[in-house]
Symmetry: C2
Subunit: 231 residues, 2 copies
Amino acid sequence: MTSVPPSPRIRVRREPHRGAYDRATIDAVLDATPMCHLAFVQDGQPYAVATLHARVGDTVYVHGSAASRALRTLGGNGDGGLPGCITVSLLDGLVLARSVFEHSVNYRSVMLLGTLIALDSEADKRTALEAFTEAVLPGRWAEARQPNRQELAATTVLALPIEEASAKVRTGGPGDGHGPDAELPIWAGVVPLRRSWGQPEPDPLLPPDVLVPPSVRRLLSAQSPDSRGPR
Amino acid sequence: MTSVPPSPRIRVRREPHRGAYDRATIDAVLDATPMCHLAFVQDGQPYAVATLHARVGDTVYVHGSAASRALRTLGGNGDGGLPGCITVSLLDGLVLARSVFEHSVNYRSVMLLGTLIALDSEADKRTALEAFTEAVLPGRWAEARQPNRQELAATTVLALPIEEASAKVRTGGPGDGHGPDAELPIWAGVVPLRRSWGQPEPDPLLPPDVLVPPSVRRLLSAQSPDSRGPR
C-alpha cells in the first residue's frame, strides 16, 4: 500500500490540511461502510446514485442488475466505459462553535475518480462477488447459497482501481476557541454521531431451528458500546 | 405539499415498487440527515462531493466557502448555473437472504435534479443560513453568534427547488422466503443499523460555567434508545 500522488483534480483544495492521500487513510474510509455514491453523467446531467461498494485490495467494486442505468452507462459498450466517481462518506458528529460561521461537522470522505471497467467473464464476476460479499460481511459467502450461472449473467460488476483518490477528514472540536469569539458565553463542542448494529431480526418465514450464523455473531461482537461502530 | 410527477430521468426504473414521488416521503428522507452528496460535472468528469444540506419548505440549500470548486462550478457566473444533483441517503441495515443473489440492504435515498441557483444578496444569504442552521439544529441560530457581513460575503449559498425528485426506499426482510431457497437451512433476516447522538463533548477551551445549551439537550432527549435515531 503506497501513497497515491494526488492529481490536480483530486487534490483537496478547500481546507487542504484535511486532505490525505495515503492508502491507509483512504482504505479505512472505504472499508468503514458498504454504502457509496456513484456519480455519472448522462445527456449532460450529473447523477449521484447510492449503491453498495466493496474494496478488494487495490480495486473498488460496485455491482447491480445488468439492467441498471447507472451501471450500463458507466460500463460502456465494450468501449472502455465512461468517467465515473465513487464517493464514500460518513458523518461523525455536529461541531458547534461560538459563531454560526464556524459551525461544522466531523466526517470522513473518500473520492475516487476514473473509468469503471465491467467484468466480462462468469469466473471474474464470481470471484468479484465472493470478495464483495466477504468485504461486506466476512464469512457470509460460505454460509449462503452461492450464485448460479443465471444469477451471474443477471449481475453487472464494475471495477474501479484505486489510482486517483483522496480522503478528506475532519475530527476534533470547533475552531473558534482561540479567537475573539472565545470570550462569548456560548457553548461550543461536538455532538458525536454513533452507529451500531442492532439485534438481528430473523425472517418470520425462517424455521426456528436455524440459528443466527457466525458471520452475524462476529459482526455484533466486534462492536464495543463506545466505538463509533464499524460502519 | 403535493406529489411531484416523475420525469422520465428521475423515475425509479430498477425495482420501481421502491420508488416514491410524494413530498411526505421525499421530505422525510431529506430531513433525516444533514449530509448529502452533490454531483456536478467539470471537464466531462462527474464528481460526487459530500456536503451539508437543509430543506426549507420547497427548497434544498447547500452552502460552503465562496472559493469552493463545487459551488463555483454549480452556481455559474450569473448565467443561471449548471445542472446538478443532490442525493441524500441513509443505510438502515443489512438484509441477509438464503442466496447471495438476494442479499440486499435496507436504505432510504432521495435524488433531486435541477439547476442550482446562487443567492446574491446579503439579506437572502442571511435568511437562508438562518433556515439552514435551524434545520440542522433547531434553536442554534439564536444561541450562537450570527454571521457578520464579512462572513456572509465569504459564504456561497446555492438553492435547488424540489421539483424533479424521487425517493427510493427498501424496508423489510429478504425476498427469498417464498421461493425454492426457503427450504435451505440458511439464516435469513435483517441486521439493523442504528444511529444515535452521543454525549456532548465540550470544547476544552470552554469556561466550565457554560452549560450544554437547550438545542443540544432537545436533540438528545428526542431520541429514544430503540429508534433508528433522528439522523
